[in-house]
């Protein structure tokens, strides 16, 4: 095979943009970013590994060296998603009041924020079977997100959840409400009941807070 074209290009400008070099430099990160952009633009169901490679300016076989296969790339992307999900919750919590109840509502709002801002990634994380949940990178990230929920409920009820069946029910119920709202809103199913997309940000927050708050009442 003749790589002459590439060779001359990289020789004449050996320190130019990374896309002109044979070795990318940070292809792993570039692929993750490209994959997320593809996901956001085309949705998860028409996701293509070759399109990701093309977007990153690299041949279709290149990703295999950093992620074994498409599943590997999507697993890493989902893990990144769970870490950012926690961040989105913490952003809301930083703006909220200090009592446990308000903190837990804020976490729910952050959860929904994340879903609305990253709908395709949210689906990859929660309703796709492509990511390999047994890989520690992903498993740890998703468990960390769950433990955030658990500690929030502990603050609300003053009990240690794993030992208290009532607290476990509360964890599941409040998670389900936040998750269900996120999923239904993302799929456009909150339009008919709530006219959701025509509400102001304040109206949305008030509405969602009220719906999630019901689960936290004793």
């Amino acid at each position: 095979m003749n790589y002459g074209k590439h060779m001359t290009a990289s020789k004449t400008a050996s320190r130019r943009a990374s896309k002109d070099r044979y070795h990318h430099g940070d292809l792993k990160m570039a692929l993750l970013r490209a994959a997320e952009a593809e996901l956001a633009e085309n949705g998860i169901e028409s996701f293509s590994l070759r399109a990701v490679a093309k977007r990153a300016g690299v041949s279709h076989g290149a990703p295999a060296h950093h992620f074994k296969d498409a599943k590997g790339l999507l697993t890493a992307l989902a893990a990144s998603g769970f870490r950012r999900l926690v961040e989105a919750q913490e952003i809301r919590q930083a703006e909220a009041g200090g009592d446990a109840h308000a903190q837990q509502i804020a976490a729910g709002l952050g959860y929904i924020d994340f879903a609305l801002e990253n709908p395709a990634l949210f689906r990859l994380m929660f309703t796709s079977e492509k990511p390999d949940r047994t890989v520690p990178d992903l498993g740890d990230a998703s468990i960390a997100a769950y433990e955030k929920l658990q500690s929030g409920v502990r603050s609300v009820v003053g009990e240690n959840p794993p030992d208290d069946p009532g607290a476990m029910k509360l964890i599941m119920a409040s998670w389900a409400t936040a998750h269900g709202l996120a999923d239904l809103i993302v799929s456009g199913r909150a339009e008919r009941p709530l006219n959701f997309s025509n509400l102001s940000k304040k109206e949305r927050d008030a509405l969602l807070s009220e719906m999630m708050g019901r689960q936290l009442l004793s």
Copy 2:
């Protein structure tokens, strides 16, 4: 092209099993059944139109005449799913008490029953973008399912939902809780908090009823 093999087979046994005949007889239904079986066995993400055709004993081009393309087949399947979702709710309601509160909880349990019995179909209906929601067959079926929810809430609050903002909030909140529970259970995320799959049917129902019931309290 030579179809001799098929010809002799269908001539010597012209009224045998439909799979031996050139014209299937009821291929449309057979394809829907095959598609659902494929969905249940392999999940939605490895769904293949050609595998469906093979399962129905027909060539890979045959489905195109009954459903324009894969999207058409999956749209019809999703519509069938919404009709059966309503049936699953009505089965639970027939077993439940007559008061509005119990009826609405029963509908939620039926919703979750359906999701657990048809996880891949549930995902096709709610979180896939392949079905074409603008096709009336599907649109009508999904609206019918929503209107069931709406009338149930009307019975609970005694108000006409579209005119009462509080009732609309209640619709969305109780839907979100049932839907969120269904989605999280199907994806295995209720195992850690609730040890869900090791519970008896009675325990599950009691647990789910309690979590959904919170949303219906005034």
